[in-house]
C-alpha cells in the first residue's frame, strides 16, 4: 500500500466483483451469483442548489438499472431531485489506517485559519 493511503486498489471489497460480467440477471434457476451484479454507490441531491450526497449502495447489472434501483431504494420518500450512480470500484478511497498522517497533521496549525485578522468596524457578513 502506498504511504499516503491512496492505494492502487480501493479499500472497498468491491474489487472482488467481476465488472466484465454479462449485462443480464442470472438465469432464475441458477444459484445466486452476486458476481453478476456489481456494486454501485448512490449519490442523491435533495434539492436544487445542494450537492449530491452519498446515500448508500446497491447491486445492479448495469448503469441504467443502477439508476432505477437507486430511484426505488433511495428516493421513495421524496428525498431527491437528482441521482448519480458510480461503480464502487471506480472510487479511490483514502486508507483508514493512515488517519494520522493523512488527517491529523493539520491539527494545531491555527495559522491556516483566518484568526489573526481584526475585524473592521461596520463591515458586515464576515
Amino acid at each position: 500500500m502506498s504511504p499516503h493511503g491512496n492505494p492502487e486498489t480501493p479499500a472497498s471489497s468491491a474489487t472482488e466483483i467481476n465488472r466484465e460480467a454479462p449485462k443480464a440477471s442470472p438465469a432464475p434457476q441458477e444459484h445466486h451469483d452476486r458476481g453478476a451484479w456489481g456494486l454501485w454507490e448512490v449519490f442523491v441531491r435533495s434539492s436544487r442548489g445542494l450537492s449530491h450526497v452519498h446515500a448508500g449502495s446497491l447491486h445492479a447489472p448495469d448503469a441504467a438499472m443502477a439508476l432505477r434501483n437507486a430511484r426505488d431504494l433511495y428516493t421513495r420518500r421524496n428525498e431527491g431531485v437528482s441521482i448519480w450512480v458510480v461503480p464502487a470500484d471506480a472510487i479511490a478511497a483514502s486508507d483508514p489506517d493512515s488517519k494520522g498522517s493523512f488527517f491529523e497533521s493539520p491539527q494545531g496549525k491555527d495559522y491556516r485559519h483566518a484568526t489573526y485578522y481584526t475585524k473592521s468596524e461596520g463591515v458586515k457578513h464576515l
Binding site: A24, A27, S46, S47, L50, H59, R68, R77
Partner: protein, 308 residues
C-alpha cells in the same frame, strides 16, 4: 377541475410527518423526507363524505373496473415481496405494487360514492375490496394471471403498464374531474412502470439463452389476455361519448405501436396466440381469481371491522 399538484387538499395534507426542513433550506440533508403534495385516497374519501363529489352510476361502475384491475394486480405483485431474484428488484416490484394499491384505493373510494348502502352512506373502499364475491369483481383477466417466474411477471407488467399509461394519459382529459385527477397522479407512476418493465424485457431477451427462452414463454402466457383490455361495451361507449371515459379500443393503436417497438428492439416477436374469451368486466374470471380473493379477504372476513 383540480389537478393533483394544486389540489384544494393541502389543508388536509399530512405535512406533520415531515422529518426534515421544508423547502430549499441549505441545512436540508440528503435523506430529507417529505410527503409532498398529491391527491390521496383519503382526500377523495373526504370529498365523498362531505358530498363534494358524487359519481353517476356509470362513472362509479367504470371506476370500479379500473380499481379492481389495480387491486388484483397489486395483490399479485405483492406476492413477490421477499421472493424476488434480488433485494433491489424485490423493492422495485413492491413499489409498483404500492403504486397500484394507491390507484385502486382512489378508484374504489370514488366508485363507492356512487354505490350507496341501504342507509344512504357511501360504500367504503374496504367494503368493496373485502366483501365482494368473485363474480362481483370487474377486473379483466390479465391482472389475475399467476406470477409464474420473474419473466412471466415482467411480461404481464409490460402489457399492463403500456395499457395503463395510454389509458390514464387520455383519462386526464376526462370531463369527470375526480377521474381526471386520479389519472393525472397515476400516469406519472405508470410511466415509470413502463420503463421498469421494458428495461427488463430488453435484458431478459438479450441475456442468457435461458432468460430469453423464459421471456418468450412469459409473453406467450400473457398474450391471450391482451385482447380483453381493448374491448368496448355499452358502458364505455356511453361514457366515452360523454367525455368521461376512454373507449378501450381507442388505445389499441398506440399500445401496439409502442409495445412492438420494444419487442423488436429486444428481437422478439408479438406472440401469435389465440385470444382468451375474456368476460372479466362482467364477473367471468379465470380459475385464479378465487384463490387471490381467498387470501386477500380472509382476515377482513374473519374479523369484520377489525383494525390493525
Amino acid at each position: 377541475m383540480s389537478t393533483p399538484e394544486t389540489s384544494t387538499h393541502e389543508s388536509t395534507g399530512h405535512g406533520d410527518i415531515s422529518t426534515g426542513m421544508a423547502g430549499g433550506d441549505s441545512n436540508a440533508s440528503a435523506t430529507r423526507i417529505t410527503p409532498g403534495n398529491a391527491l390521496r385516497p383519503e382526500d377523495i374519501a373526504l370529498e365523498v363524505k362531505t358530498g363534494l363529489v358524487k359519481p353517476s352510476g356509470d362513472v362509479a361502475e367504470y371506476a370500479l373496473r379500473l380499481g379492481d384491475d389495480a387491486l388484483i394486480l397489486e395483490q399479485r405483485l405483492g406476492h413477490w415481496i421477499s421472493r424476488a431474484p434480488e433485494l433491489e428488484e424485490d423493492i422495485a416490484l413492491g413499489n409498483i405494487a404500492l403504486d397500484q394499491l394507491g390507484h385502486a384505493r382512489s378508484f374504489l373510494t370514488y366508485a363507492g360514492a356512487g354505490m350507496p348502502k341501504e342507509d344512504g352512506t357511501a360504500t367504503s373502499e374496504d367494503e368493496l375490496a373485502y366483501f365482494r364475491r368473485e363474480h362481483e369483481f370487474r377486473s379483466v383477466q390479465l391482472f389475475e394471471q399467476p406470477n409464474g417466474d420473474f419473466a412471466a411477471t415482467i411480461a404481464r407488467q409490460f402489457v399492463v403498464s403500456y395499457y395503463q399509461y395510454e389509458l390514464y394519459r387520455r383519462l386526464t382529459e376526462s370531463t369527470d374531474s375526480t377521474l381526471a385527477a386520479i389519472a393525472a397522479k397515476a400516469v406519472k407512476e405508470v410511466d415509470y412502470h413502463r420503463d421498469h418493465s421494458s428495461q427488463w424485457v430488453l435484458r431478459l431477451a438479450g441475456g442468457t439463452e435461458e432468460s430469453r427462452k423464459r421471456m418468450i414463454h412469459g409473453l406467450r402466457l400473457m398474450w391471450p389476455y391482451v385482447n380483453e383490455l381493448f374491448q368496448d361495451d355499452d358502458l364505455t361507449q356511453r361514457l366515452a361519448e360523454a367525455g368521461a371515459a376512454v373507449a378501450p379500443s381507442s388505445l389499441r393503436g398506440d399500445f401496439d405501436r409502442l409495445v412492438t417497438a420494444v419487442l423488436s428492439e429486444a428481437e422478439l416477436e408479438v406472440p401469435d396466440v389465440p385470444a382468451a374469451p375474456g368476460g372479466g368486466r362482467y364477473g367471468k374470471h379465470s380459475e385464479h381469481l378465487g384463490y387471490i380473493l381467498a387470501e386477500m379477504q380472509v382476515l377482513a372476513r374473519e374479523h369484520p371491522g377489525a383494525s390493525w
